[in-house]
């Protein structure tokens, strides 16, 4: 016989039946069920296969401590693997699948691993695949087979179709856990006027009250709960979040929560960041399993779970139940189960229990056996009987049963406190870790502090609520915190004397008593070592039920007190958090903001193919007909070299530098002089970091006595702005300068080519563009269509070229006018690809060369550095290592055979010596329509002085291309600069 639904009882709505499926079979449950309670009620006992050995597993708990019943929910893109059946709320149409078994759950071929169990013992992977005699490659080879044989569920590879959102909140008091303690803390704090958030992982409030049957403060528990919940939900200063898991506590009172929403909400999960002035932790306690042979068999469960299924869900896990215990808590549980009409035997390891406790059990119909301990569960896919020994070691009897309970004591749940670095304190009397002293306003209450009696839990809640109120200047009736404990007889822990067979310490990770013993013998007897050596305490379970038992095993083997061994520190998250919840709405195109140039719409209308560069969308190329990018950029380059090309450069960083000391500031941040720059002139400048490495380059224009217009690269616009602010605020507050980012205020275009002057003269009539009136590097302010514009005659293409800026609102108007003018002159638009190619032909450095490692000298710009003034980075650039002659330096590269191609990222090396890091690398390449072959620039150790004229191999092992290249000066086209004058 397996589990079944009792005729009556439980907090389920028997009027609301729900259909669901497990491995394709249609089953029925009720509203209020979890997947686990519904499976049990349907007699489903075998629900999973274990991690390493593929052992049959059932449901062992009724909550977050579940080690065995991990299932996959949903299918297709909505597949959610490794879901705990014991916490999954049953909804209509829920689809559950067993996982990690093949071909099916009952006949699982992977179970062959059980026969080779020795292979999977502690440290097996390390010894066999990574140890002496194995190369790193052998692990890479074996890993895929091992990963297939051992593991949990499989995630979907499809995009997640669900929606997630994130929320921020702040409150006076955050209460985590809505059992009797948490509820009372929230109530008292709220009545004192505090803003309270009460969080409960379960879909129902009540915690332990839902599973127990005792009265609380003389009132029926269900009635007490109903009244409290109604008033909390009705209070305007209390927010109750059920189905919400607090997974992490962080600095300064910040908590991370994930709320699971109902399907009707249209949002699957909501991620909360809560900032609380004070936090109360009322997370309860988890029952520990007992360690004996086959303690993982389906039908072997925690006693508290057997009780919860009877009381909360009206489900019996079997018809003949044996409960093995070492403490008082199992008496009430056994009594409840017996009262539901199930044959119940209680096996207590202690021999000296008498008085009201056993009387209560006996009067409920429980058969009581004192001084007996479990040795081994019998039965393969389900427990059939229990072999028992006497506590003194004498052989005992074999008891028939179809389900059994384990009650090995209780572990207060302190994961969140541990996340804050608070070490727990071992209490020998209670055989439990109790919370240590927190340095922050975080207070643990209830069973999480080792308080076992419900009334005391409620009282500790009131004390914590009052404490929070007093701390925040409110008044509330003072209450004392009760002492931990509350049992009539002391617990008799660690009864693992006469174990037979495989006894699991960590059921989820298939770590046995024998594994822990072996690890200890090999010296891995510290908790953190044991965890990594055996996997104990890993995966979704994180040692909730196994951590303390493992310490006890080590203590027994090593001798000495348990608290001398140490504990592991828990880190967030307390339970798995879906990636979807973490990402929220920030996914796909919402991952980062998209920046568009003021000319964007005009470019797109014209047919530009856009490219993401950082946050910006920039025009990549302007295809004509079916042109590819490679065809288009060559054509666009020809437009510039032969007629006139226009390019949107609005994304360049633009900073207004204003004030009497504006020139002084630029003199300090640029390596070259700017104070002496004439009004109406622009200059190309390079700035360094403190450490002498190149930070950025660009032109700055002197517009007036006290005003410069600085441009930066698109990529470094924000960095340069922040850098200038830092210098002015932190180092030179005496400089009378203001810096303002005006990147978004100006739309700009580059106009380049022999006909550039002709084109601009037609659009800006109030300026004289003749060579004398508007010389190279000149800056002029004029008007375009009645709007002020600023123009500088500067060039990165080597052609006669200008940059023109107008207020951003007029960007599209400017673009259309430029495009009409360019088209009329047989020119047109060019994009980023051509822009890059034009600058490579001229040997100008760009992003790939300004890589955060190159110095001025490396880039061939050393002569720019002023010797008449000091500048940032000027001292550290003289460090001996930055002056070495064998540093990678900028060179030009051309293929030895004209028609051959080579690619950026290729390694430069001498032919015949292609190992290691080579002599340098290719940074940028392009096909040059003017020269009729490919050209590139790169950084090469020793540079031109050592390699000029010599041949090297450009080796691209990833794309499988090897090209012989000649090292030349990095100026391929018009090195004399004749074209600049048009």
């Amino acid at each position: 016989m397996t589990g079944f639904r009792l005729k009556s009882g439980g907090a389920i709505d028997r009027g609301k039946p729900l259909g669901f499926s497990f491995d394709g079979r249609t089953l029925h449950g009720f509203r209020g069920d979890t997947l686990a309670s519904a499976l049990l009620a349907n007699g489903e006992r075998l629900v999973a296969r274990s991690f390493k050995y593929h052992r049959p597993r059932g449901i062992m708990s009724a909550g977050i401590e579940e080690t065995s019943a991990l299932v996959t929910i949903g299918s297709g893109a909505r597949t959610i693997p490794n879901t705990l059946a014991s916490t999954e709320e049953l909804v209509e149409g829920l689809e559950a699948h067993s996982q990690h078994c093949w071909p099916n759950l009952r006949f699982d071929l992977g179970a062959i691993n059980q026969l080779s169990a020795r292979l999977f013992s502690a440290g097996f992977y390390y010894k066999t695949f990574m140890g002496p005699g194995n190369s790193p490659k052998s692990w890479l080879f074996y890993e895929r087979f091992i990963r297939r044989a051992a593991g949990l569920g499989v995630a979907s590879r499809e995009p997640d179709p669900d929606h997630y959102e994130s929320c921020e909140a702040s409150c006076d008091l955050l209460v985590i856990g809505a059992g009797p303690a948490g509820i009372e803390a929230a109530r008292v704090a709220a009545e004192a006027g505090l803003d309270v958030i009460l969080v409960e992982r379960d879909f129902a409030l009540g915690g332990g009250l839902l599973q127990e049957s005792e009265a609380i403060e003389g009132i029926n528990a269900r009635g007490w709960l109903l009244t409290r919940e109604r008033s909390l939900r009705g209070a305007s200063n209390v927010r109750v979040l059920s189905r919400t898991m607090a997974f992490g506590l962080y600095d300064h009172g910040v908590a991370g929560l994930v709320e699971r929403l109902q399907p009707a909400a249209g949002v699957r999960e909501r991620f909360w960041i809560v900032r609380a002035k004070r936090i109360v932790l009322a997370a309860g306690a988890l029952e520990r399993p007992l360690i004996f042979g086959n303690n993982d068999r389906p039908g072997v469960m925690l006693t508290s779970a057997l009780r919860a299924y009877v009381n909360r869900w009206g489900v019996a896990a079997g018809t003949r139940i044996v409960i093995a215990t070492n403490n008082d808590s199992a008496y009430a549980a056994a009594s409840d189960i017996a009262r539901a009409g199930i044959a119940t035997m209680l096996l207590d390891a202690r021999e000296d229990v008498s008085g009201p406790l056993p009387e209560m059990a006996k009067s409920a119909g429980v058969e009581l056996r004192l001084g007996g301990v479990p040795v081994r569960a019998i039965g393969r896919q389900s427990v059939r009987a229990l072999e028992v020994a006497r506590i003194d070691g004498k052989a005992g009897e074999t008891i028939d049963c179809d389900a059994m309970g384990m009650s090995g004591g209780w572990s207060p749940t302190q994961h969140l406190l541990s996340q804050r670095g608070v070490r727990p304190v071992w209490n020998e009397t209670l055989a439990a870790f109790l919370p240590g002293e927190a340095r922050e306003p975080v207070r643990c209450i209830g069973a999480a502090t080792g308080i076992w009696r419900t009334d005391d839990c409620a009282r500790s809640g009131r004390a914590a609520g009052a404490e929070a109120a007093h701390a925040l200047g409110r008044s509330a009736p003072k209450e004392d915190f009760p002492a931990p404990g509350g049992w009539d007889y002391p617990i008799r822990p660690w009864i693992f004397g006469g174990i037979k067979g495989k006894a699991f310490v960590d059921i989820q990770n298939d770590v046995t008593f024998g594994d822990v013993r072996q690890a200890c013998h090999e010296g891995y007897d510290a908790p953190e070592l044991l965890k990594r050596y055996t996997t104990l305490g890993m995966a979704t379970d994180q040692g909730r039920t196994s951590a303390v038992n493992a310490l006890a095993v080590i203590a027994k083997l090593r001798g000495g007190p348990l608290d001398a061994i140490g504990t592991t520190t828990f880190r967030p998250p307390f339970a798995p958090v879906s990636i979807g919840a973490l990402a929220g709405a920030e996914r796909d195109q919402h991952l980062l903001p998209t920046r568009r140039s003021p000319m964007h719409d005009a470019l797109v209308t014209q047919g530009a193919r856009m490219l993401e560069t950082g946050l910006w969308l920039r025009p990549w190329f302007y295809p004509q007909g079916t042109e590819t990018v490679d065809e288009a950029y060559l054509r666009e380059m020809r437009l510039v070299r032969e007629a006139v090309g226009i390019c949107d450069v609005s994304t360049l960083g633009k900073i207004a530098v204003q004030g009497p000391d504006a020139g002084e500031l630029l003199d300090r941040v640029y390596v070259n002089a700017f104070k002496s720059l004439a009004i109406g002139k622009a200059r190309y400048g390079v700035m360094l970091r403190d450490d002498g490495i190149v930070m950025d380059d660009g032109t700055s224009w002197r517009l007036g006595e006290h005003e410069y217009f600085m441009t930066t690269t698109t990529a470094n616009a924000g960095k340069v702005m922040a850098w200038l602010e830092e210098l002015l605020e932190m180092r030179w507050p005496d400089l009378r300068v203001a810096v303002t980012s005006v990147t978004d205020q100006w739309a700009g275009a580059s106009v380049a080519g022999p006909l550039a002057r002709d084109l601009l003269q037609a659009l800006v009539a109030d300026l004289d563009f003749s060579n004398d009136a508007f010389p190279f590097m000149g800056v002029r302010e004029g008007s375009f269509n009645g709007v002020p514009c600023r123009i500088a005659r500067i060039s990165f293409s080597g052609e006669l070229a200008y940059e023109i800026y107008v207020p951003a609102d007029h960007g599209q108007e400017l673009w259309r006018a430029l495009l009409d003018g360019a088209t009329a002159r047989r020119g047109g638009a060019y994009g980023l690809e051509a822009l890059g190619a034009l600058r490579i032909e001229k040997g100008h450095v760009g992003g790939p060369e300004l890589d955060g490692r190159a110095t001025l000298d490396d880039l061939g710009l050393g002569r720019m550095a002023s010797t008449k003034k000091a500048f940032i980075g000027g001292v550290l650039r003289t460090r001996p290592d930055l002056q070495r002659k064998d540093r990678p330096q900028l060179v030009g590269l051309v293929p030895v055979t004209k028609g051959e191609i080579f690619k950026g990222g290729s390694i430069l090396c001498e032919g015949g010596n292609e190992t290691g890091h080579g002599l340098g690398w290719v940074t940028s390449v392009t096909e040059s329509p003017s020269l009729g072959h490919w050209v590139g620039i790169g950084l090469l150790k020793g540079g031109l002085s050592e390699w000029g004229g010599r041949t090297l191999l450009a080796d691209d092992p990833i794309r499988g291309r090897r090209t012989l290249v000649k090292v030349v000066a990095p100026h391929f086209l018009d090195p004399e600069g004749k074209r600049l004058n048009g």
């Binding site: 962080y250 600095d251 300064h252 009172g253 910040v254 960041i273 900032r275 340095r439 300090r668 403190d690 450490d691 922040a722 602010e725 830092e726 605020e729 932190m730 180092r731 507050p733 005496d734 000091a870 500048f871 940032i872 000027g874 001292v875 550290l876 003289t878 460090r879």
Partner: protein, 91 residues
């Protein structure tokens, strides 16, 4: 997540701020000797306990602040505008 009480904007998450390093570093004159610059750029004390740090409220008022943070507990005990907090910064 730290909370920093900006003297201009009020208490905000540290995600609005950008860390700017040790506030005890006095950057030398631009033409100071190499050793002085090596000291300023590369040598840090990495204390356990209270630490004076530079933070910019980059997603707020953009001003630079001196924040005293305990590196052990993350407790923030003092936040001041950089201009008034650094002695001798304002001439």
């Amino acid at each position: 997540m730290l909370r920093i009480n900006c003297p201009f904007c009020g208490e905000r998450d540290h995600s609005e701020f950008t860390y700017g390093g040790d506030a005890n570093i006095a950057y030398p004159e631009l033409s100071a000797p190499l050793e002085a610059w090596i000291e300023a750029v590369y040598v840090r004390s990495n204390p356990k306990g209270p630490h004076r740090e530079r933070w910019q409220h980059s997603d707020g008022c953009r001003l630079w602040l001196i924040v005293e943070r305990d590196t052990l507990t993350h407790a923030i005990t003092r936040v001041e505008p950089a201009r008034t907090a650094i002695p001798g910064l304002m001439k």
